[in-house]
């Protein structure tokens, strides 16, 4: 048998005056390896008051982003063995207001997403009868962008987002912004760029690359942000 110790951030604003860390232990067979989410579900059997979000349990819905031993990730696809420690510290995603325990208020994150108009804009007066065609080359430009599941692991690991979550769009939102800027079927490229060309929305990214380091889908927001900066700068000179 092996034993894991969990230290989990607990805060219930209805009863607690302040957040605190609570210790739990979990035993399992030596040969057994669980995902962090499975461990949390077992801990919830011990202590039903423990609150966290989850849904798909396979890394596609983006509900269970949390800070595991100091690094943001999805609990459902993080093996306990990958943490290389029998002591596990779990906290909510940093920087967002805590609703309860590991559940954060994602409003600021979604507001930034909404700001970049995450939908196709096409001013074509006579839309094609069936579908808008796109060449395989143009379609390939969306790879590495469309896969984002909005888990917020990236934006909540970004210092620029911590300091100005109301004005800096953040890596997730900017990844989506580039997804529409580069889409051959979107005709609002200039309007989109106009809305990003202030001192905060894009340019607060200083290339720290925390976002790339944590993205559970292996995406690269910094690269997309670099492309947006180039688009803005080539208009400016």
């Amino acid at each position: 048998m092996k034993k894991y110790t969990f230290s989990i951030y607990r805060y219930n604003p209805d009863v607690d005056n302040a957040p605190h860390m609570k210790e739990y232990t979990l035993e399992m067979e030596d040969s057994q390896d669980l995902m962090v989410l499975e461990a949390l579900i077992k801990l919830k059997e011990q202590d039903p008051s423990l609150a966290f979000r989850r849904s798909c349990r396979e890394g596609v819905c983006g509900s269970d982003g949390m800070n595991i031993n100091g690094k943001n990730g999805l609990a459902c696809i993080t093996h306990l063995s990958s943490l290389k420690s029998d002591k596990i510290v779990i906290r909510p995603l940093p920087g967002l207001p805590v609703i309860r325990d590991l559940i954060v208020d994602m409003s600021q994150f979604y507001q930034q997403y909404e700001k970049i108009k995450p939908y196709l804009i096409n001013d074509d007066k006579t839309p094609p009868a069936r579908e808008r065609l796109q060449s395989p080359e143009d379609r390939a430009k969306l790879d590495g962008l469309y896969e984002c599941i909005l888990c917020a692991c990236c934006s909540t690991s970004c210092p620029s987002f911590w300091w100005n979550p109301d004005k800096f769009v953040g890596p997730a939102g900017l990844l989506h912004a580039y997804r529409f800027l580069i889409d051959s079927r979107d005709t609002a490229t200039d309007e989109r760029l106009d809305e990003l060309d202030d001192a905060f929305s894009v340019f607060r990214c200083h290339g720290i690359m925390n976002c790339v380091n944590v993205c559970p889908k292996g995406l690269n927001p910094t690269k997309a942000i670099g492309h947006i900066k180039s688009m803005l700068l080539s208009r400016a000179v």
Partner: protein
Amino acid sequence: MVTAAATFGRSGSHDFILLRASAIVMVLYSLFMAGFFLSTPDVTYQVWSGLFANIWMKVFTMLALSSVLIHGWIGIWQVSTDYVKASGLRAFIQLVFSVGLIAVWLTGLFVLWGV
């Protein structure tokens, strides 16, 4: 509420370009100065004031000091809007640095005038 009113450039990309351009000028000036000290074994008062008597040196120096002003202005604005949440304190810090940077620029101007 932080707005972009107190920064130097007209837009995010303008700030970005000003920061990079001023950085290049400062690097060139530093390299020039390092080269001057390495290639001049004996820096006497005559050599030093002779250097700054050249009109191109005055212009180069003013360009470098202008770059310090612009780079510092934008930089302090960016750092203070990240880390200083209290708007009164933020305004005070921006004021102190902006006045200080302008003072450095003016000092350089009058000193060069006299050489």
